[in-house]
Symmetry: C2
Subunit: 205 residues, 2 copies
């Protein structure tokens, strides 16, 4: 005779790590990967230039503008946006396949993109990554050597606006200087907790 399971069914989560530019979304994702956590990490498609150390197909799919336009045309992106003059997009098929196999899917995305994911999938799990204070965020953005003064000003203004969008998200996680692992620990705890909800999130895309 089969045993009568009491608990709600296991359902995979769609986990969105977002937050203003400069909070360390890539670094947090990188550390999560290093820990060998059993999630599917979405590889974002982008037209931005490959940075030193980045691997095509691992960190991003680095595409030409033509290739990116093709993906948009064939409706192969879950969402896409122009982020500081570069296109970024989430390949739809990749996310669907991972969810169908029962895996939790983790993606990093800008605040605007997170908003799109929320409207596509109200039950997505949205994590807002940030610094402790606004001053710390501005300080971090200012230290980036890759910025022109105009680029920096734009990023700071955008970040300030994005901090006001907190209520769009489910959770707020501080990624403090030198405390990367604490931020990752919290994200892992959130995912663990979410798998124990009595009313599981229903992820459909």
């Amino acid at each position: 005779m089969p045993h009568t399971l009491i608990h709600p069914p296991h359902t995979p989560l769609l986990i969105v790590i977002s937050g203003p530019s400069g909070v360390g979304k890539d670094t947090v994702l990188q550390r999560m990967k290093e820990r060998g956590l059993p999630f599917h990490f979405v590889v974002t498609a982008t037209t931005r230039p490959q940075r030193p150390g980045e691997v095509d197909g691992v960190d991003y799919f680095f595409l030409t503008h033509d290739q990116f336009a093709d993906m948009i045309e064939h409706n192969e992106l879950l969402e896409h946006a122009i982020v500081y003059n570069d296109y970024k997009g989430i390949p739809k098929q990749q996310v669907r396949q991972a969810l169908a196999s029962g895996q939790d899917v983790v993606m990093r995305i800008d605040v605007q993109g997170a908003e799109t994911i929320r409207s596509l999938c109200p039950d997505a799990l949205l994590v807002f990554l940030s610094t402790e204070t606004e001053e710390e965020l501005v300080g971090r953005l200012s230290q980036r050597k890759t910025e022109t003064p105009e680029g920096l000003k734009l990023r700071i203004a955008t970040a300030r606006q994005e901090l006001k969008r907190l209520e769009l998200f489910d959770y707020f996680v501080v990624n403090a200087d030198l405390q990367l692992d604490a931020a990752v620990d919290t994200i892992v705890a959130i995912i663990e907790a979410e798998h124990h909800r009595t009313r599981p999130r229903r992820v459909t895309l």
Copy 2:
């Protein structure tokens, strides 16, 4: 100049560990205490006889029926109920003081009591502790040597009813045989996650 904090304010949680008789609520609470977690563990008042090893004022406040009646009369209990012919109740002042000091408050309570807490405080964090399967729960209840056949039958029937109240709770945690620490880890993860909600629970009593 003060720094502009981004994150929501820290608010203490009212954490209710509940579930059918026999799932190990006391054992889980005991292990949480042993770990030295920074929570206030509510000491429940009860008229049931002290069991070997239990300490008055630590495990429970062991009261006579007269003393318990006085507490009810003076409205000093958050809730109280007759559980298998014994009175149990949550001292109100103790909970309020701990919350006022900013501490998370953890209490164990039967399913009926959890329902009362939910109606008193809709933002309480309710955890349903259970076994993996219904058969396992029945098996555990049957192994208790302290039960009369009638007592056992009543507990099993009640447990079966209580399993249907899952939707009253926020989270479901399995306390499997020999995996007590896994259950405690999950509860700790839930509390950690809950402190990172963008919309904190508002606990008022």
